[in-house]
Amino acid sequence: MNQSSLLKKYLMALTGIVLVGFVLVHMAGNLQVLIGREAINAYAYALQNLPAPILWGSRLFLLVCVLVHAVTAYQLIKENRMARPRANEIEVTKRAGWASLRMGLTGSLMLAFIVFHLLHFTIRAIFPEYNDMKTTVGSPDGSEIHDVYSMILAGFQVDAISIFYVICMFLLCRHLAHGVSSMFQTLGFRSERWRGKLDLAASAYGWIIFAGFSIIPVLVIAQKYGLVNCLETCGSSCSVNL
């Protein structure tokens, strides 16, 4: 695909906007775990039961965005490597930060994370037993629904998984710190006068996303080791007990 460098950049920015928006909504949804089992289960149930075109349309759209973002990034990086066949003997920077220099790395890890995350919680292929977690809590009509709350708690019970999630959220945070500000630049909406503030806002956004996502595995682990006691424990309806 031999399209203009700027078109590729626009693709990165536009898909970036979608994904930036998505993680915020996703995080807001997740935070309902803190409200309680009923809230998150009801929310998850509602999402799952959206009319199929909307549900699958959105899923497909997001998937396409991720793929376009990743494939375009791959092309860009490949071209960039070709454009600089030999590195400097001494590689230094004056302005570029850690995050902006490692978008490829953080991005690739994010892609791996997304695959894992989908297999883990959405498709539930890694631990098929999550599918058996059923409850009536949060059900709109009292029938049995999937107990997302228990699944999350069970999922983060495993130290390694929680640590992995937190690390990945940190990478996401850094990816966003560059990406959110860069997005404005690529679309031509950034100016040097505002760049400082925009960079700060982007970084803040990254940290908010980090905090919002990480708080759940952190609390689950903290509660596991008796450091806090704020999460509603799994009742008899679920197979995992804290």
């Binding site: 600089r84 400097n88 003997e89 590689e91 004056k94 302005r95 570029a96 220099l101 630049q185 031509g188």
Partner: protein, 250 residues
Amino acid sequence: MKLFLKVWKQEGPEDEGHFESHVLDGVSEDSSFLEMLDQLNEQLLGEGKEPIAFDHDCREGICGTCSLNINGYAHGLENSTTTCQLHMRKFEDGDSITVEPFRAKAFPVVKDLVVNRSAFDKIIQAGGFITVRTGSAPDGNAMPVPKENADLAMDAAQCIGCGACVASCKNASAMLFTSAKAGHLNMLPQGQAEKDSRVLNMVAAMDEAGFGNCRNYGECSAACPKDISLDYIAKLNRDYAKAKIKKVFS
């Protein structure tokens, strides 16, 4: 001053190239970096060795001929300074200095530290001009230009085409150069008629030449001896989007 130099040596475009080490004593701190290299070359000549080839001409920071990557920095660590205006008082006695050519696929090495930057000319030829036949111009004051716009155009037009932006970019992107050249003309009323074709063609020429993609690091602007702002890249991004959309829907 006594300096320990590690300088890139490459016989020609096909040669692999390697570093050579030299010790140079008695350097005046009032010397410019290029005068220091002159001194090294005289020393090499005295030893019957071939001097190091490097590009240079005006030696007052305006022609954009000098290049050199000094200790990893295009034109050296000093901000807003070309290599020819970098003075040895910025270094310490006993310093080790690594000197390499500007590295980019689009800037092939001619010899030693000399690179071919004709890719920049290609970008200008694609659209970095206003089509005006000699003699067909209206009176200079026929078209007022708000001072602010004229100043912004001048900020961009100051670009000396040295290629430090490309050399300092990890991706060897020429966006700062291209955007400064397009931005200068796009900002003036005289440049409006060809604005869309200008950005489309210049970006196409830039891609064609094998430059990398902009990743908005800002290294280019930090290395730019004329402090060209990233705003021009944002403006180019904007102008290009508009031009592309207009083209698609026309």
